[in-house]
Amino acid sequence: MAAVRVEAVLAAAEEQEAEKRRSITVEKELELEYDLGNLLAVDRNPPPAAALRGAGPRREALLQALARDNTQLLVSRLWELPAERAGGAGGPLVAQLPEPTFRLPREKPPPKPRPPTRWEQFARLKGIRRKKKTSLVWDEQAKEWRRRWGYRRAGGDPSRAWLAEVPAGADPEEDQFARLRREKRERVARNELNRLRNLARAHRAGSAVPAAPLHPTGHQDRDELRRVARVARVSTASLGRFQPRLPKESAEPPSRNSGKKRRFEPLLGNLAAERSRQLELLRDMGSKKPVLDITRAVNKQLRQEEAEAAAANKGKKQSKRGKRGRRQQRPGRSGKKSGARRQPQQKKAAGGGTGAGRRKKA
């Protein structure tokens, strides 16, 4: 009897041990935070500081136990992810990781979109789109598909062309081969110049350092230099009043409000102008006709609104409008001229209709 009971007890104990060994549950006060995309887990529970203070193997054992618990939790989460067998039925079990959520700083700043080049602007204006070209071209002579340009191109090597026709109207004594070579050199140089100009434009647009134009670079044009010279002249304690001028420079003193603020006429100035202004004012006050031409004003306002709407749309979508597109991009046409042409009633009725439609009517 006793033996049986002892055996039963031992069996029970063994089963308990086995159960503990196979257990995958871990008790934690605070839940861990997981970032499965990075295989990361953060445990906010304060570790048992007192126990870890003692040095030696006990600390290592404690650390290992803590690590085991945390790893168990992380692995349980990872094994709960949707998994599939990669490479057929016998392949390894592969889990799909989600995107990492922990925000880490970037290596480099995100790329800035570069401003469009001169050609790109023109193409957008005209509505020209890129034609997709095939990379291989059929070469009749060689009877095979060759590259469009580059090594072994279709049409043979241009540097080994043995025939150069004299075009009609050209000097018969001229060396055609030399001309072709010279033209190619010129084309390459022009291309390079344009590329550098585009780069400079992009660089200027991108950086917009305010002090940059004030440093002489040798590549500034006349207007920039004039602007810079003016700024330099005014940057003195007396705001440029006593700066010496060059012999051919215009000797006008800068007006006191040469900025965006309201400017006022000098008090004692042109008597004749003042007299005529006052008389005109009296005349307008006395006449019966209203000074403000309502129709013109309304047309001007509507034109302005159209231009704004067109500018906003142009920013959003670049449609190939062609001529229509070109017309819409010149909103600065004087409202008075076109306004007077149209019927005021029609305009008022149409109100906020599309600009394109109305232009067609006109």
């Binding site: 257990s23 650390l63 690590a67 990781l97 880490l104 290596e107 790329p111």
Partner: protein
């Protein structure tokens, strides 16, 4: 200026393109530098992390230009600098760069170091993506510890992968912050059978283990850090429109149709109702109703 020099070969062009700022960046590279007076301990640490360059006599906390120069030349944005002197024994400076300028730098002192070769166990293959676990509330409370956590994740994370082989989760790095010290331990993970699908974990101490203490820090200002965290708009996943999910898990889609012309609708053809040519011509408002034979 980089943009002015035009690459003459395709290979050079690819090299430059790899280094320029992109939407989705490359995996960060780390450079490990041995200082002018590095001792054996520190060298061993660096060696264990992977490999190192020749001696470099710089002081990162005073002058960062040499570091930035190296970073620019090798296109590495993470670095680990080891040195040793009487005032700061067994020094390790861990740091990262943003746009080839130093962003964060934290100086750690190595108090105890057990190398890979000192622990006689089987190791896991090189290049395994490690699991990272940070224990201790200090990692969230203290600002410096928060940055250190971010730095360590950046350093040890490895390349971002879309999927992972579940049996290959072999390596785990565990950082515990307690009492002003940070214990870094590396374990090899053994997956044992358990009652259910999820395996039971047993750990075996494997790799280098370090007892670190934080010394000086050089953290980036808040706005610079925020700037470096900024992700470009193109990376945000696009929202899928017209798809909605039910509570029970059914997916609903929405299709927008144009207005249908109901007179041209295709219905069941009933042979009896078909217009015979004679009747078609005779039909003048006189409706001849026919009985349909449909069931």
């Amino acid at each position: 200026d980089r943009a002015l020099e035009r690459p003459k070969t395709k290979r050079a062009k690819r090299f430059l393109e790899k280094r320029e700022p992109k939407l989705n960046e490359n995996t960060k590279n780390a450079m490990l530098i041995k200082g002018g007076n590095a001792n054996l301990t520190v060298t061993e640490v660096l060696k264990d992390i992977v490999s190192f360059w020749t001696k470099n006599i710089t002081r990162p906390f005073e002058d960062q230009t040499t570091l930035e120069f190296f970073s620019k030349k090798s296109d590495c944005s993470l670095f680990l600098f080891g040195s040793h002197n009487k005032k700061r024994p067994n020094n390790l400076i861990i740091g990262r760069m943003f746009d080839y300028h130093v962003l964060d730098m934290i100086e750690l002192g190595v108090e105890k170091f057990v190398s890979l070769k000192d622990i006689k166990n089987s190791k896991c293959p090189e290049g395994t993506k490690p699991m990272l676990i940070f224990a201790g509330d200090v990692f969230d409370v203290n600002e410096e510890y928060r940055r250190l956590k971010s730095l360590l994740i950046d350093f040890f994370r490895g390349p971002t992968v879309p999927s992972i082989r579940l049996a290959g989760l072999e390596y785990v790095l565990h950082f515990t912050a307690v009492d002003g010290k940070i214990y870094m331990r590396s374990y090899k993970v053994l997956l044992k059978k358990s009652g259910c699908k999820i395996p039971r974990i047993e750990l075996e101490e494997m790799g280098p283990s370090l007892d670190l203490v934080m010394r000086r820090t050089h953290l980036a200002s808040d706005d610079l850090y925020k700037l470096s965290l900024k992700q470009p708009k193109g990376l945000k996943p696009k929202k899928k429109k017209n798809i909605s999910h039910d509570v029970l898990g059914t997916t609903y889609g929405r299709i927008h149709m144009q207005k249908q012309d109901l007179s041209k609708l295709q219905t069941r053809k009933m042979k009896g109702l078909k217009k015979r040519p004679a009747e078609k011509s005779a039909e003048d408002g006189v409706a001849t109703p026919k009985k349909s034979k449909s069931a």
